[in-house]
Amino acid sequence: MPALVKGLRVVPDEWTLVGSGDVPDPVPERTILALEDWLPQRAALSGGRAGVWVEGDAEAEAVGPHVADLPLIAVHFPAFADGRGLSLGALLRTRYGFQGELRAYGDILPDLAQYLHRSGFDAFLLADRRSAEVAIASVGSITDHYQASVRQPVPAFRRR
């Protein structure tokens, strides 16, 4: 069973992700819609009822302007070695100031958690509980990194 890590703890997943074009009517609380499905309905859905999902190669410019209306953005990783989602996450946090839940899902290897965490993701959906625990441990496996990141915007050389 998939396990959700949020805030470095395994927590129940309260959200339901629906495929593109699959918009329930009415849209229940805590539904994650494809960005293109959410956009036309965004006035009706504001107030934090729905989140959106995008592919890792989505343009940050397409999601960025809407972050204030979104409680959750889920970024899909088609393969764990596809790092586009990392740049997208970092951009949503740093350039667009997204404050809500930034979730990674798809092919998430526990070892990617360290990168996800540092690129601004606070939630990752893993294959099972064991993977989730490994992911949490992996975030803490390196005490401090050299460069700046979303988590630590001050690079090590300014703190040495």
Partner: protein, 551 residues
């Protein structure tokens, strides 16, 4: 050399523990082969046709005698007593058992070494001129900047899962010994008044689609180094192709976008990053620069008379000084290249005994520091001229004094079909046959500088595109054939070789090389080097001679 502080040491120690845990999960069946592949590649562990191979990072080719001794020891304990110097200034060992790799990494960490990002689709070891810091033609020692980039690129949160591997090289000398024109990013370091500035070339590379990098920024001030790199990497990470690994390098993106559009994208990205927290501080630059301050050279005089006398007395020493000894910034010293290109030994292979010996010479004839060059040789950077003869005798006894540096037989060659599963053809036996055929030093010296490069397939590990003579293994209906190109060059005014024509069987290659050299000797004017001659007369005369007599 860069000196680790607690931060650096803790980082590599924790990285070893992290990798150990990953290996344990793999051995326990919790990671699939494909998953573990990506993790081990980011720690330099390849599994090749015959056996695993561990690539150890030698940042920008600089290491200490203590580190080289540790490598000798590791090769003895975990390999068959051999190491291999790579064309990217690293060291590889073969046959390490997967289970013990974490222990090897632990041993390396004790001497401040690691295998981080020596393979995989991430930012690789940053390289530079093997003569950095001592070359007489140097404007700026690029190593401090390489180190700053090494640190910045190590487990970067965004850029460790790129479309493809990514190679950055710096050059701070008049001559380009770092091949910056054929790197994903090549950076030229220069002075503008009192300031250090960088020119950025992007999108060079070899492999299937060889390309010369395009200049996208000139005279970038020093403090912006990391933010500008970040802007380039972000554009590449987001837009580089991932659907086809042969089209995934940044050169393809730059070409598809055009260098101008690519540059504009980078500039737009950089607008957001410029002057942010990753902007380098004076303190940080100075902290790293201090690690690379030149040693306190005891005062010496140039030994012109002594050397002339010795050279006259010994033709072997004479040839070696002529080819393998380069001028030093400081009077009385010399830069020595110890060649690994001995006929019959695969280029770049060194034994544990040789490594220990070289480490001893680095202490005795220098300040305990040495280099690895991309031509797969060792460099002793600070040899007092009065000790050159003595060093030559030792090097000769250890098979490290081939005086062929930069000459035809100083071949750069990939492992090829003997070791590599991707090969179309063997490459080492071709190198060996050429070395055997052309073994007359007087003839080789008369020919002058010729870079001969051999790759066993179009992945171009032997950099055949930039050989003055480039040999590429091709497959012709299951048989091994060789395509020959002329006129490639990796330095300033870099160029890619032009293919002569139909390929040759292995038996024919040496004869063809002989004919190419004959044409050169016939056609050259005065001291004209081979490359210049090819550029002047074009490949037609070579083609005529080679194919006329074949038909």
């Amino acid at each position: 050399m860069y000196r680790y502080d607690e931060f650096d040491q803790r980082f590599i120690d924790e990285r070893v523990a992290q990798y150990r845990e990953q290996t344990e999960r793999y051995l326990a069946g919790e990671l699939t082969d494909d998953q573990f592949l990506q993790l081990r590649l980011r720690n330099g562990l390849y599994i090749q046709r015959l056996a695993p191979m561990l690539r150890i990072a030698v940042p920008y080719g600089t290491l200490s005698s203590e580190q080289l001794r540790a490598l000798a020891d590791i090769s003895r304990r975990y390999d068959k007593g051999y190491g291999h110097l790579t064309t990217r200034q690293n060291v590889q060992i073969n046959w390490p058992a997967l289970e013990v790799v974490p222990d090897i990494l632990g041993d390396l960490a004790r001497v401040r070494m690691h295998c981080i990002q020596t393979s995989g689709s991430c930012i690789r070891n940053v390289t530079t001129d093997q003569f950095a810091g001592v070359a007489a033609d140097e404007r700026v020692d690029a190593r401090p900047y390489c180190e700053i980039v090494r640190q910045w690129s190590t487990q970067h949160p965004e850029f460790d899962w790129l479309p493809r591997k990514f190679k950055i090289a710096f050059n701070g000398a008049a001559a380009d010994r770092a091949a910056i024109h054929v790197h994903d990013i090549g950076i030229r370091v220069d002075r503008a008044g009192d300031d250090i500035v960088f020119d950025f070339l992007v999108g060079g590379g070899l492999g299937r689609t060889p390309a010369i990098g395009s200049v996208i920024r000139t005279e970038l001030p020093e403090r912006h180094l990391l933010t500008y790199l970040e802007a380039i990497m972000r554009v590449y990470n987001r837009y580089g192709r991932r659907d086809n690994k042969y089209k995934a390098r940044i050169k393809i993106l730059v070409r598809a976008m055009t260098p101008e559009v690519f540059r504009d994208r980078v500039d737009a990205e950089w607008e957001h990053l410029k002057d942010g927290p990753s902007t380098l501080t004076r303190e940080e630059i100075d902290r790293v620069l201090r690690c690379f301050e030149p040693p306190a050279y005891p005062r010496r005089e140039d030994q012109t008379a002594l050397l002339a006398e010795r050279r006259l007395a010994s033709p072997g020493f004479n040839a070696w000084v002529r080819n393998n000894v380069a001028p030093h910034k400081v009077p009385g010293y010399a830069v020595v290249t110890l060649s690994t290109k001995l006929t019959g030994v695969p280029p770049g292979d060194v034994s544990d005994v040789q490594m220990d010996a070289v480490a001893d010479w680095a202490d005795r004839y220098g300040f305990g520091e040495l280099r690895i060059g991309h031509e797969q040789n060792f460099v002793l950077p600070d040899v007092p001229q009065e000790h050159l003869f003595e060093l030559w005798e030792h090097a000769d006894a250890h098979g490290l004094a081939s005086a062929n540096l930069g000459l035809l037989t100083d071949i750069v060659c990939c492992p090829g079909g003997d070791y590599c599963s991707l090969a179309n053809a063997k490459s080492i036996p071709v190198a060996e046959a050429i070395q055997r055929e052309f073994d007359d030093y007087d003839y080789l010296h008369d020919l002058g500088p010729i870079d001969l490069n051999i790759s066993g397939c179009m992945n171009a590990c032997g950099h055949h595109h930039v050989g003055h003579i480039g040999i590429l293994g091709v497959d012709k209906k299951g048989a091994e054939f060789y395509q020959i190109a002329l006129g490639g060059h990796a330095g300033d005014d870099a160029s890619l070789g032009k293919i002569l024509g139909p390929s040759f069987s292995r038996d024919e290659v040496t004869g063809v090389i002989g004919k190419i050299l004959d044409v050169y000797v016939d056609k050259r004017v005065e001291e004209e080097p081979f490359l210049h001659c090819v550029r002047r007369i074009g490949i037609a005369p070579f083609k005529e001679r080679v194919y006329a007599s074949a038909g």
